[in-house]
Symmetry: C3
Subunit: 345 residues, 3 copies
């Protein structure tokens, strides 16, 4: 582990240092786990009491906690984000590949590689492929004809990219993910299904992260598009012609059917199913396991199968939980009413 | 883009041409997007008005629309299927591989390859494997001992096929799909689970398409069988000893548990779970996200969790949506009845 | 097929032989399918009548059936487990790979391989990797820097293991499974999501089986841990920092969110979603398709979306099935009460 001074860390974070700049810090840790010599962070004022007992040598804070620490501290706009920068200082990304083409890789003579691009063992890079500077293609990846990949990307082992797709800068794709497989489109005719050629592509913009064994189908025509900053967890499926807006997050095993448009800054939980040809507005949230069959307005939070505004689902759910009791009440009403009617007659 | 005459297109479609056979057509497009020189189609009479405004040079129609176009037209049995044939004329499948064995591929000396079969870079073809004519095995695919693959198949990158499986003609398998992994079978004994050997195989018949990262397990004994013309979307899971009947379509992320028999011409939506040891009859339909725990009769449409005949699910769903209101009505009944009883006593 | 004497089989099973030890057995079969010369088993007394009609030459029984067969038999503690041992005698695991490193594989000079380890074609074994004796790494697998794999493991084609993971002995990993991909962790800051480095590892203990295209994420810090004897079916997802206890079984397409602790001897059905930061107690059972948002006590059986104790779910479900009828009863009550009130006034 390297050692940094508090001044080094403040510079990295872009924060204001309060305390001795020469204090030597040996690592990062959570507030209740920090040992002497480590730096921690305080984002939530309710953990203020932990700070008094902490063994940390220094703490990263922001204006939100309203606390002025007794120990040396760095003030920055967002304590957790600042801490993440400090963590990265101590844990810089480790490069596992060496620049250049591994002798066992197959790179077509018409492919163009940027400076310091790494092509791992047994990888395949097809005709006309363009790979940007410092991008790492791990062993056994396959990139077919004409696809373009930006700079500083990481393609972990066994990622495959079909022909003519376009991938931006700083994109991370985890093992086994598939970009550009054919969309699922067939024309029924005389009792059989006939393949509709899928001649579109997939475009992945900058700063996207794609989980392990994700599948993103190419468009029938045009583009399936994943916009800047989107994060997709493992085993997510995006069908043909789907658009996912900027900085949207989709948790594991969720599927989005064809031509649906997901807005920006949307949060979708795990194992959600989103129907085709609908839209999910900017900033919407969809709870885990929901089945979304209709468009969701911007800013709305929906949940359930079938998905409804979350408060409505919760109210329904509360009654559902007591349905056997509700049935008994109706049975009792029927008996009482009958008794009343009998008396009457 | 190539250019064809209207006569070329009529011949390809097998339709009857009404208009000048020498008209030169430069491409295909939807009715509202076609430019001069393009051919479009009209399948649904309600888009008839679009035809009047369309810039298309010609249109493909069938008897269903009841419209006789003012522009040159080709009459055929199914306008959309005809249009698909025209589209294929302009967009013939592009061959990305060259026939023969890439020098980096490993093909066992006992494997037999048909004429013009293509084995891509870093692929592995094991002992006794048979691969038919013109079949394309993309880079980094793995085909283990004794498996047989028919003619004109496409195995996209990173497809793997375990030993002794059989695959028909014109089968398309997308990236990362797994054929013939062990079924999930264990015998509990003394607090642990002991593997039951899975000594069966997988048989995939002709004209099947299998999506990216699909998994199809081999049978415990006998066969897991996917019949002619079946289409499986991405991330579908078929367990050991499942049978899927001819021309059945299964949408993404659906799973079918062990020994279940799915009939022919069945449509199963995305993220459906079908229990083991049941059957789904011919022509049945299962709505997306359903959980099917009991056999489904032929021709039935089921939906929901738990799956029920769709009209029943819809009626239940309508009451569920108003459960809080139903609860209030019961509460009101209780109050009124109590009031009535008090007056009475 | 080899032939064994009844004495051979009794020795393999560790059972007591009743009958001629020299009888030659040619194979194993189920009780109603056995031909002359085959051995079968009887675990459940209700199939006792099948035994009388069976053509089997001998039968494996245990004390539970309470039946003393008229044909030669082997008595052992568990008839089905005994039969499984006999089956394995006739169907020994077939070794598809030959010991040593295939010439096309890339094995770093600092990797250490145990005796008779097999590294298949086009596989990659990175710096510092340790692989135990007799472990089989199939073609196109990728094992990154510093990962350790025990003895007698099988890594089927296209399995990938990220850096520094640890895998025990006798672990079976099916095609396309991913071990050690980054956990899904991001810090929101200024409208974007910033990657939290995932510096932990995955530890897989002895005798685990992992299905095709499963994904197991590495821990943010510390370990994602899959304990001894766990069986994971295809397309299961385990998020960062999850722990799965000994001899737990998880069926296909189930996902477990971050930091959740699953106990030992738990059974989880297919397509279940388990929320993050909860625990599932030892011996609990979770029905297929359930959505588990709260911790489950040890020994409890839960089911449904949302998951509840199964008897509660069944009672709710019974009322739900008749909700339209319940609504009609409430409507009738309202009418009758109104009529009563009118008479009264």
């Amino acid at each position: 582990m390297p050692v940094f001074t508090l001044a080094d860390i403040a510079a990295k974070i872009g924060g204001t240092l309060h305390g001795d700049p020469e204090i030597r810090i040996s690592g990062t840790a959570e507030i209740d786990k920090a040992s002497a010599g480590e730096i921690t962070f305080l984002a939530n004022p309710k953990y203020g009491s932990h700070l008094e007992k902490s063994h940390a040598a220094a703490v990263i804070v922001d204006g939100n906690s309203g606390i002025t620490p007794a120990i040396p501290f760095i003030l920055c706009p967002d304590a957790y984000y600042g801490f993440l920068q400090a963590f990265l200082l101590f844990n810089p990304p480790r490069k596992l590949l060496t620049p250049g083409i591994h002798p066992s890789a197959v790179v077509h003579e018409t492919a163009r590689l940027g400076a310091e691009a790494c092509i791992g063992a047994n990888a395949y890079v097809g005709p006309g492929v363009v790979i940007g500077e410092r991008t790492q293609v791990f062993p056994n990846c396959v990139i077919l004809d004409g696809s373009q990949i930006g700079s500083d990307c990481i393609l972990y082992p066994l990622v495959s990219i079909r022909e003519n797709c376009r991938i931006g800068d700083r994109v991370i794709i985890h093992n086994g993910a598939v970009i550009g497989s054919d969309g699922f489109g067939f024309a029924p005719y005389q009792g059989a299904f006939h393949k509709i050629p899928q001649v579109g592509i997939v475009v992945i913009e900058d700063d996207v992260e794609i989980g392990a064994n994700v599948t993103i189908d190419r468009a029938t025509m045009g583009q399936t598009r994943v916009r800047k900053g989107v994060k997709l967890d493992n085993l997510v499926h995006l069908a043909h012609n789907v658009t996912v807006g900027e900085h949207t997050v989709i948790v594991a095993q969720t599927g989005v059917a064809g031509s649906t448009r997901i807005g920006s800054q949307v949060m979708i939980g795990g194992q959600v199913a989103v129907a085709g040809h609908i839209s999910v507005g900017d900033g919407a949230r969809i709870g885990a396991c929901s089945g979304v069959s209709k468009s969701v307005p911007a800013g709305e939070t929906v949940f359930g199968f079938v998905a409804r505004p979350i408060m409505k689902t919760k109210r329904i759910e509360a009654v559902t939980a007591n349905l056997p009791e509700l049935l008994r009440r109706v049975q009792q009403l029927e008996k009482k009413l009958e008794a009343l009617q009998e008396k009457k007659s």
